[in-house]
Symmetry: C2
């Protein structure tokens, strides 16, 4: 029984990796930088995307694919901040997006007008770590209200990510949270992580994030 489960799972994952490779090729040939935003529920991914679209949406040709278990709430929120189509994927209970869903969503987007693509994954620090979506990099978002130990408790997600955004820094005066300890834990798990400290709500710390995104575009080939 256990063996059968593992076999099936391996075949599903292998198929996903194949599809992710073809998504990656498609994005690269269209010269689109794609970031897969992962986090626990309520860490502020959607607010960060709203802010990012307000500032860079037109300048960088930003498109968004949202993944939600049941609703299109995030897509509806984000759609108010862009004139482009926001492609919503409802996973129907699954705890992550997969490459097939991204491939289908890309069909609906105007890739010629897109230079930067955000994929807002399902709020979940476990499942999405295992599923490649053909993205340039995963970006893990965590917030100062979640406690410093999240990188230790969900190490795979922090290892699979190239960037980490520590969000809700406006709440630091009100919560027991040691920033240095949290970043230290994250570096223990993944020494190559690059950090952004932000408050998507107040706008604090967003300038380095915007500069980073501009640099990913200016560098031409996002790979």
């Amino acid at each position: 029984m256990a063996v059968r489960t593992i076999e099936v799972r391996e075949r599903v994952m292998a198929k996903n990796d194949e599809l992710a490779a073809s998504v990656r090729e498609r994005l690269q040939s269209a010269e689109i930088a794609a970031f897969n935003l992962v986090s626990s529920p309520g860490s502020g991914k959607t607010t960060l995307l709203e802010r990012t679209l307000d500032t860079l949406g037109e300048e960088l040709g930003v498109a968004v694919i949202t993944g939600d278990v049941q609703t299109q709430n995030d897509a509806d929120r984000i759609a108010k901040h862009t004139t482009r189509l926001v492609q919503a994927v409802v996973t129907g209970g699954a705890c992550h997006l997969d490459a097939r869903q991204i491939s289908t969503a890309l069909d609906a987007l105007d890739l010629d007008e897109t230079r930067l693509l955000f994929i807002e994954n399902v709020g979940n620090l476990v499942c999405p770590a295992s599923w490649s979506l053909g993205e340039e990099a995963k970006i893990v978002v965590f917030s100062v209200t979640e406690g410093e130990d999240k990188p230790l408790k969900y190490p795979k997600m922090f290892r699979e990510s190239r960037y980490a955004i520590l969000n809700k820094i406006d709440l630091l005066p009100h919560v027991p949270f040691d920033v240095d300890r949290a970043l230290g834990y994250a570096r223990d798990v993944n020494p190559d992580l690059q950090f952004f400290l932000t408050s998507a709500l107040t706008g604090d710390g967003l300038d380095p994030w915007f500069a980073f995104l501009r640099s990913r575009i200016l560098s031409g080939n996002p790979a």
Copy 2:
């Protein structure tokens, strides 16, 4: 391929339900009330358990089983607040606990000395909703920093829960969060939910929670 996956999944779930039924029988015959605490990462489950053990640990004979993906951090934290064994289950990547793990964990606990059992599930608002652990009820914990819409976005978890704890109410002055709207969304999804509003950090709102737990014990048979 898809059909094969679904078949295997159904057999795994059916086997889990069988094991959960036997766990439930075992807990009932030992007259132990068992609650399965579910939430997103960082909502405050562990702090709530620390507080609960400090106040009720000896009085109610409280035992704890913790589930974590990789670490035993939560078990180590909780162990400082009780003289009893805290049973840690490391899921090794899985996004939820299952009934077999609980059955094994029960073997290590002194059931004669236990009247109340908390199972602290993996921080995840998706997967644990589908896995019965033989518990009396699931209790979903969410916090005012996560946004009001979590019940709508993770409806299965709120439907499967009989109780909901809205935590971190000490942060209400500092975050954009409408309590009535959040509770309304939760009731839309599950009209039978019973709520507790707490700050596990400051202790606000814990008295009704403690009274509830005492009532579950005093009522004798927890079913």
